[in-house]
Amino acid sequence: MIKAILVFNNHGKPRLSRFYQYYPEDMQQQIVRETFHLVSKRDDNVCNFLEGGTLIGGSDFKIIYRHYATLYFVFCVDSSESELGILDLIQVFVETLDKCFENVCELDLIFHVDKVHYILAELVMGGMVLETNMTEIITRIEEQNKLEKSEKAKLDGTPVLIQTYETLDLSILNELREKIAKM
């Protein structure tokens, strides 16, 4: 099971933290710090697996991570996960982010925290791998985007309605809005 997914930059600033097991907030912060401490002092060409985190799990616990340019992607997992499998999953996650943001960079993660969470939610659910097929994931994300756009269009569209039907009284307008919302 994946216990936590953390993304932080080379300076240890968290960019994403997702815990699949309950930890109090201060504990979460400590875990992020400890993990950064463990991972950041390692060279780039050593192996991507690492034991020794004390805060999550103890002996039945591994850190699997990848370092991309300015960001560390860290998955904290227990022994029921395949190390290489998780490594590939990180790759899928990053490739998906890359496709969704068109050349993803740290700033994208900062300014679109919500989006990153939604993408992750399509990959991992409750600490288990949900979907690994990137085409499928991107289809689902695009569906969401479409929905979002259509909802925004409705919002943006309302002022146009007001201009066109200036004479309409407000109650009718509200009814109209509700109808649109229900569509």
């Binding site: 968290p14 960019r15 994403l16 933290s17 997702r18 309950y22 109090p24 907030e25 912060q29 060279d43 060409n45 050593v46 192996c47 991507n48 697996f49 690492l50 034991e51 020794g52 039945d60 022994s79 029921s80 395949s82 190390e83 290489l84 499998g85 490594l87 590939d88 999953l89 900062i110 300014f111 679109h112 925290v113 919500d114 969470h117 939604y118 939610a121 659910m125 409750g126 600490g127 288990m128 791998v129 949900l130 979907e131 690994t132 097929n133 085409t135 499928e136 689902r140 569906e143 969401q144 985007n145 929905l147 979002e148 909802e151 925004k152 919002l155 943006d156 002022p159 919302a181 229900k182």
Partner: protein, 903 residues
């Protein structure tokens, strides 16, 4: 209307930029607090916020939370967003809740209600959102609230694939967090058939769920084996174009393959020959594919391929039945050991560790010994080196022990601090387990102390002493070696401890050589004395008194040391007391008494190495249980057998070793510590304490009974509510002072009999619970408590007793007790049971009294009177005359005295 550029939110972008521009932590906190105040006022304000605004604020809060600030408001707003019809609002609401709201939040009821509404709705996208939230929080409340809805979604025919996928993982999460709240039902039988689902995503999710169910109840889901094998076979034999989207860098469905291979590791090899053949074919195909040239140069391709390969190897090791496959697996791992990818070397070492425990492949693994040793020396990555240590430990046997231990010792000098302690334990275990020549063992341990003294835990040096004491062929060598080791100008305190102990016991064996004569030995030890901690000094003082016995010629030198102010008036009570007592002991006792008191340590009882227990505790995964078993039986170790029952180790010998820390408060109270017996205890020689006053007359004895019983009952009644204790029980308890068997308690429901036997410091007691009624006694529970600090003096081990006592039946329960030091109270036993629905509780004192641990001493009249006369100080004599209530019957007194354990 706010202007929305792209899909971003301007307010959010501005806020984040502000934070990023903050020059200091203080400035950042200030900006955040300002924003929090702003959002709070917005949420509280009269103006209703529209969805966009709510979403913007929630995003801001998420960002602030990520930076490590607590968010204690906004929860209600988030919950409100859940019932919005807009997808984006619902989505952000769920996100906020699953990131920020803990399982125990008060709002959980509302959240669950919203989730239930979404699940009941027809919109798959809303259902997925709700499921995600459940899977991420997974609280008990959710499990209880949604226990019917989710399994239904999973097996229902009209659920779309993506929802099924999510439902499987959500159910898994709930089963994990509160397994008992999910009602088992019809869905269970249908669940394994999800492995045949068309959609690979559904199969992957279902495989995770099934594995969890299988772990709890393998029989129930046995059918999944053949389904998993056939699914696996279809994937493995497919070409990478068959599965299209589920092919990852030319590898067909790697994640699903891994999951299926893991699932199969929960079962023994398939019984059905057809399934078994099919599985073997799959595994062979996977091994074959590893030899094919890669279809892509990308690391992702090799990663995915090898993820499957490693899992296949794990399955081969798990089944441990096909020697051909095992050897192939081993060769494959051997190739990886030299692979340029660090990850593969790491994993190969890890898997080989498992392989080394299989009898078919143990020899094959040993072929790679050189490579592993090279890895230990040359790997740049500590994680990999750690794996190499693990593997060396696993592949070690009698044939290669000397080399492996040598290499590990050498590596220890430069090893990372983080793994030193574990390495020390491993070296110590291997050296002990495979020692043919115990001089080699002693050398290894002393080297360990020399190289990594700080990491040598107590268990390690206790163990070397235990072994030296138990094996007389190595004692002379050990004495010689520690003597040499102590000559180093700077030696570790642990070395001084071992040296002090061994020379104290066996210094005489090397004293023949004038270079290591008695005075030289003493001077050498004493030269370290002032640099040591009080605990070590205490140990050295004990070694000195032993020297007095071994080498009477240096008695005066040692007495001078004991007499020095530094010892006799030391601020440390323990040292002070030892000095005074040892000085007295050496000056007033005859050589005979001294020789008896300071006799060589008796051999330690054989038991599991405490080091092994420690390693197990430290790294449960690193000690393969099965291999230990196998090795011990295979390589019959003559002297030091290892059994696996840690619990049974008698606590007495621990005391022998921890003499440095033994508390002596009891003796301080006694005032005059000149009696030999006090020092005997302090030294922890383990010889039974003998009563200094054997039976003299019935008056004295009866008196002793009285003081004992009155003394022991007082604290018990004060401290513990003895509601169910009848007057008869106290009476019965007193009877047990002079006898070992009898009835302890009886009422209309229950009769409790006791049988006991004692030998030296160990006692065994059987309690018989007889059900006198014609009904079954349910929930029968017995608990023993030790009032006050009795637990320090008397350790009690209780065998479990069954939950029911049938009508008219009798059940037996055994207690093992070890007396550590003297005690006054008796342990209290609380018996609880249900008799025709009514709770019954009986509290009784367990008849364990101090005198049971007295051992009579055989001696003739002369010896007795010599001893008797030696007790001449006034405080050692006490006389009290009481009036006998009945005429003195010689036979009766004799029976009582023998029951009292003094005859």
């Amino acid at each position: 209307m706010p202007t929305v550029k792209g899909d971003g939110m301007r307010g959010l972008a501005v806020f984040i930029s502000d934070i990023r521009n903050c020059k200091s932590k203080e400035a950042e906190i200030k900006r955040i607090n300002k924003e929090l105040a702003n959002i709070r006022s917005k949420f509280k304000g009269d103006k209703t916020l529209d969805g966009y605004q709510k979403k913007k604020y929630v995003c801001k809060l998420l960002f602030i939370f990520l930076l490590g600030h607590d968010i204690d408001f906004g929860h209600m707003e988030a919950v409100n967003l859940l019932s919005s019809n807009r997808y984006t609002e619902k989505q952000i609401g769920y996100l906020f809740i699953s990131v920020l709201i803990g399982a125990n939040n008060d709002l959980m009821k509302l959240v669950i209600q919203a989730i239930r509404n979404d699940l009941a709705g027809r919109n798959p996208i809303h259902i997925t959102l709700a499921l995600q939230c459940v899977a991420n929080i997974g609280s008990r409340e959710m499990a209880e609230g949604l226990s019917v809805d989710i399994p239904k979604l999973l097996v229902s025919g009209d659920t779309i694939d993506s929802v099924k996928q999510s439902a499987a993982l959500t159910l898994l999460r709930l089963l994990r967090s509160s397994p008992d709240s999910i009602p088992m039902g019809e869905w269970m039988s249908r669940i394994i058939h999800l492995l045949n689902d068309q959609h690979m995503g559904v199969v992957t999710a279902a495989a995770s769920l099934i594995e969890n169910l299988v772990k709890k109840n393998p029989e129930e889901y046995k059918g999944c084996v053949s389904l998993a094998v056939s699914r696996l076979s279809r994937i493995v034999t497919s070409s990478y174009t068959d599965l299209q989207d589920y092919t990852y860098y030319f590898v067909p469905a790697p994640w699903l393959s891994v999951k299926l291979l893991r699932l199969l590791q929960n079962y023994p090899p398939p019984e059905d020959p057809a399934v078994k053949t099919r599985l073997s074919e799959c595994l062979e195909t996977i091994l074959n594919k590893a030899q094919e040239p890669p279809k892509s140069k990308k690391v992702q391709h090799s990663n995915a391929k090898n993820a499957v390969l490693f899992e296949a190897i794990n399955l081969i090791i798990h089944m441990d039945s096909d020697p051909n496959l095992l050897v192939r697996a081993c060769n494959q791992l051997g190739q990886f050991l030299q692979h340029r990818e660090t990850n593969l070397r790491y994993l190969a070492l890890e898997s080989m560790c498992l392989l080394a425990t299989s009898e078919f492949s143990h020899e094959a693994v040993k072929k790679h010994q050189e490579t592993v040793i090279t890895a230990l020396k040359t790997e740049r990555d500590v994680s990999v080196r750690q794996r190499a240590v693990d593997l060396l430990y696993a592949m070690c046997d009698r044939t290669n022990a000397e080399e492996i231990v040598g290499e590990m010792l050498e590596y220890l000098e430069s090893a990372d601090y983080s793994i030193r302690e574990e390495m020390v334990l491993k070296v110590a275990i291997l050296a002990e387990k495979y020692a043919v020549d115990y001089t080699w063992y002693v050398d290894v341990i002393l080297n360990l102390i020399r190289i990594a003294g700080d990491y040598v835990s107590e268990e390690v040096w206790y163990r070397v002493i235990q072994i030296v004491i138990n094996r007389d062929d190595v004692q002379g060598y050990a004495a010689k070696t520690v003597f040499e080791a102590l000559q180093a100008p700077a030696c570790h305190e642990n070395m001084v401890k071992v040296g002090g102990y061994i020379l104290g016991e066996f210094g005489n064996l090397i004293a023949g050589d004038p270079r290591s004569g008695s005075a030289v030995q003493f001077q050498l030890l004493h030269s370290k004395y002032h640099l040591c901690s009080p605990a070590t000094r205490g140990l050295l003082l004990s070694a000195y008194i032993k020297f007095i016995n071994l080498f009477p010629e240096i008695k005066h030198i040692i007495q001078d040391v004991l007499r020095s102010d530094n010892n006799m008036r030391n601020a440390d009570v323990e040292l002070q007391q030892r000095s005074i007592e040892y000085l007295q002991l050496s000056s007033i006792t005859t050589a005979d008494v001294l020789a008896t008191v300071l006799e060589e340590m008796p051999p330690f009882p054989e038991r599991e190495s405490s080091i092994l227990a420690k390693l197990k505790k430290k790294k449960p995964s690193s000690v393969p249980e099965g291999s230990e078993q196998k090795e011990t039986t295979a390589s019959k170790i003559p002297a030091v057998q290892m059994s696996n029952n840690v619990d049974i180790a008698p606590p007495t010998s621990i005391n022998l070793m921890s003499q440095g820390e033994s508390s002596t408060d009891d003796f301080v109270d006694q005032g005059s510590p000149q009696g030999g017996s006090a020092s005997v205890d302090l030294l922890g020689l383990g010889s039974p304490t003998q009563p200094t006053a054997p039976s003299v007359g019935s008056g004295g004895l009866l008196d002793m009974f009285d003081t004992l019983t009155s003394h022991s009952s007082a604290p018990a009644t004060n401290g513990i509510d003895l509601g169910g204790l009848s007057g008869g029980a106290e009476e019965a308890f007193r009877k047990f002072i002079c006898k070992n068997n009898g009835v302890l308690f009886e009422n209309d429901l229950l009769q409790i009999g006791v049988k006991s036997e004692y030998r030296e410091d160990l006692g065994r007691l059987w309690v018989f619970y007889g059900n006198k009624t014609t009904f079954q006694l349910n929930a029968f529970l017995v608990d023993v408590s030790t009032p006050g600090n009795l637990s320090e003096s008397l350790s009690i081990q209780q065998k479990p007793v069954g939950g029911e006592v049938e009508a008219g039946a009798q059940v037996k329960q055994q207690f093992n007790m070890a007396c550590v030091q003297e005690f006054a109270e008796a342990p209290v036993m609380t018996i609880q049971f249900l008799y025709s629905g009514a709770q019954q509780k009986i509290s009784l004192k367990l008849p364990v009294v101090l005198n049971k641990y007295i051992t009579p001493a055989e001696m003739d009249a002369n010896t007795f009177f010599t001893r008797w006369k030696a007790l001449n100080s006034p405080s050692q004599e006490c006389q009290q005359i009481i009036k006998a209530t009945s005429p003195i019957d010689h036979e009766q007194v004799k029976a009582k005295a023998s029951g009292y354990c003094v005859l």
